[in-house]
């Protein structure tokens, strides 16, 4: 059910669907192996601006096409689909692997871990393709890490736009600033959600 835009956009109003960029916590967005530090923040824009990368785009370092983008949200979201606009001449990413609600993933972690979902991408310079998620797994996403291991043969990987479609809930994830390991177990610290009233149990 990809929105191929063979109709005029006014009826469909695509831009409101792709409004999850408003819920991205831009100050905490980070990327690994980016050539220009901080350039990753420029890839989150409104749908209408998806082809307008005048403010900069995300590019990986010379000779190394791998990229990791860490996207935290300001509240939990339900993610329906993702759209990626890459660069020309083989610099578009070829694969995308997603990890949910994990902090501090670096390249060795990303290569060894099983992603929540994996996609094979095609060159999508007009931004009309979207990649759907297995919605049931993406029901309460506090942050998502996208790993792009490969591209279409270019020297670097360029990403001009990342679009996120879905719904934002008003819930905030439980944020623990630093985890202190306890020397001895204390059952009162470990009430499960089942005891306090139900909900998904989080496995870190």
């Amino acid at each position: 059910m990809a929105c191929l835009h063979d109709h005029s956009c006014e009826e469909h109003d695509c831009s409101s669907d792709w409004s999850l960029y408003k819920h991205v916590d831009l100050s905490k967005v980070s990327a690994l192996n980016e050539a220009v530090s901080g350039s990753v923040k420029s890839v989150f824009r409104a749908w209408e601006q998806r082809l307008n990368s005048s403010e900069g785009y995300l590019e990986s370092n010379e000779g190394d096409p791998e990229l990791i983008v860490f996207i935290p949200f300001t509240s939990d979201v339900k993610l329906k689909s993702i759209s990626i606009v890459g660069g020309a001449d083989g610099t578009s990413p070829a694969k995308m692997r997603a990890f949910i609600n994990r902090d501090g993933i670096d390249f060795s972690d990303a290569q060894n871990m099983q992603p929540v979902q994996e996609w094979d991408l095609v060159e999508n310079l007009q931004g009309v393709l979207e990649y759907q998620t297995r919605y049931s797994r993406f029901q309460s996403v506090g942050n998502i890490t996208l790993h792009f291991p490969d591209n279409f043969g270019g020297d670097t990987t360029q990403i001009h736009y990342i679009g996120l479609k879905g719904e934002a809930t008003q819930l905030k994830r439980d944020v623990v600033a630093t985890i202190v390991y306890e020397l001895m177990p204390n059952p009162s610290d470990h009430k499960t959600r089942a005891e306090t009233g139900g909900g998904l149990s989080q496995v870190e």
């Binding site: 690994l32 192996n33 370092n61 390249f107 630093t178 985890i179």
Partner: protein
């Protein structure tokens, strides 16, 4: 005040027994490590530092990144020297230790002390560097100890591969009289990318250099930070001005070297009167807890005030003044060439000694001052050596007043 987790890689190979850094390379390195740990933990209380050794039986992590300074200092105790440094493995283990830091929000940094020859070739090091850059780990390299061109090149190549936006640095410390830690204090490794030397660094510098109760100017930066900062800034400005003046004077001295043979007694009197007056701004650097020194300063200052008008009149032009002050130029020359043991210095020293007889004759005329007193002698020696740049600076300020 950037939030950082740091891993320090220590070289404890056989090459560290060498004594070209006092007392030996290993001890100098340990002092530097202690200072770095202190500086990091003070600049941000949530910073963590860890230590590992690269030689010995193999790479060994002594303490994982922690903000507990005592633990770090304790583990530096009782380290044994031996084996060969394994730079590549050391850096990779450091990277692994940083990866598993508790607070993922901290930036990652590795500080490597490379004292022994590097046996890995450039390609391997560059590969490691690129991997560090990819995982946004910064790397600081302290190149000391063994010196060879290859090692320098390899380390520079490693730095180039890691460097991202000037967050990584390399410092080459040749063996010399100053301690390794003193040299490092002024480098970006301590000051952290020009965020301003932390109060710790300044206090440490003062403690290392002057031995004055650990604080600059007797003011605790913690109790009164603005005052300490203002004093420090004015001190640095003063020093910068002195250096500029000294440089200018050195050029003048080079021009008028051995030109003049006359030295009138008035010249020397004026010289001596200018000396103590201009050394007054320098008071902060002198240890003036001694009352006699203070009295002496005041006495000479008063006599200088009497002839201040003549001084002003005479000093309209720098070159004219230098033409007249033969002794001044010689003294300047001496201070500029300080440390270089060559023949010309000897003759200069002799002339200065002759000068000193004039000084003692003046001093004997002053009441309550005994020229044979050791304090007085010390003061004279320090005045001769240190107030030369001040003379020029004082003259310039007098010129400005005149204008």
């Amino acid at each position: 005040m950037v939030l950082e987790a740091t891993m320090i890689c220590i070289d404890n190979s056989e090459w560290m027994r060498n004594g070209d850094y006092s007392p030996n390379r290993f001890q100098a390195q340990a002092d530097a490590v202690n200072l770095i740990c202190g500086a990091k933990t003070q600049s941000n209380p949530e910073n963590t530092v860890g230590v590992l050794t690269m030689a010995g039986k193999g790479v060994r992590v002594l303490v994982t990144p922690t903000s507990d300074l005592g633990k770090i200092l304790a583990c530096m105790h009782g380290l044994e020297i031996g084996g060969e440094m394994n730079l590549a493995a050391g850096i990779q283990v450091a990277q692994l230790a940083l990866k598993h830091r508790q607070n993922k929000k901290q930036q990652q940094r590795i500080i490597v002390f490379a004292g022994s020859p590097v046996k890995y070739d450039k390609k391997v090091l560059e590969l490691i560097g690129r991997k560090l850059k990819k995982n946004s780990v910064a790397l600081d390299i302290v190149n000391f100890g063994e010196e060879d061109e290859e090692k320098r090149e390899k380390l520079e190549a490693l730095l180039a591969a890691v460097n991202n936006n000037d967050s990584s640095h390399i410092v080459h410390v040749p063996p010399g009289p100053s301690a390794l830690s003193d040299v490092l204090i002024s480098t970006p490794i301590f000051t952290g990318d020009g965020e301003g030397g932390s109060g710790f660094a300044a206090a440490a510098a003062a403690a290392a250099a002057g031995g004055v109760s650990g604080f600059d100017f007797g003011v605790d930066p913690n109790l009164d930070p603005e005052l300490a900062l203002a004093l420090r800034v004015s001190m640095e400005e003063e020093r910068a001005r002195q250096e500029a003046a000294a440089k200018k004077a050195a050029e003048e001295a080079a021009k008028h070297e051995k030109g003049e043979q006359q030295s009138t007694s008035q010249d020397t009197t004026m010289t001596e009167n200018v000396d103590p007056g201009t050394s007054e701004p320098d008071k902060k650097t002198h240890d003036l807890t001694d009352d006699e020194n203070a009295l002496l300063q005041q006495a000479l200052a008063m006599s200088m005030d009497d002839s201040s008008s003549t001084v002003a009149v005479r000093d309209t032009d720098m070159s004219d003044a230098s033409a007249d002050d033969h002794d001044l130029q010689l003294a300047l020359q001496l201070s500029v060439q300080e440390g270089a043991a060559d023949q010309s210095n000897q003759t200069d020293v002799n002339k200065l000694l002759a000068d000193q007889s004039f000084v003692s004759s003046i001093l004997t005329s002053l009441p309550g001052v005994d020229p044979n007193d050791p304090h007085v002698k010390d003061l004279l020696a320090s005045m001769q050596n240190q107030s030369e740049p001040n003379k020029e600076e004082d003259k310039e300020s007098k010129e400005e007043e005149k204008k």
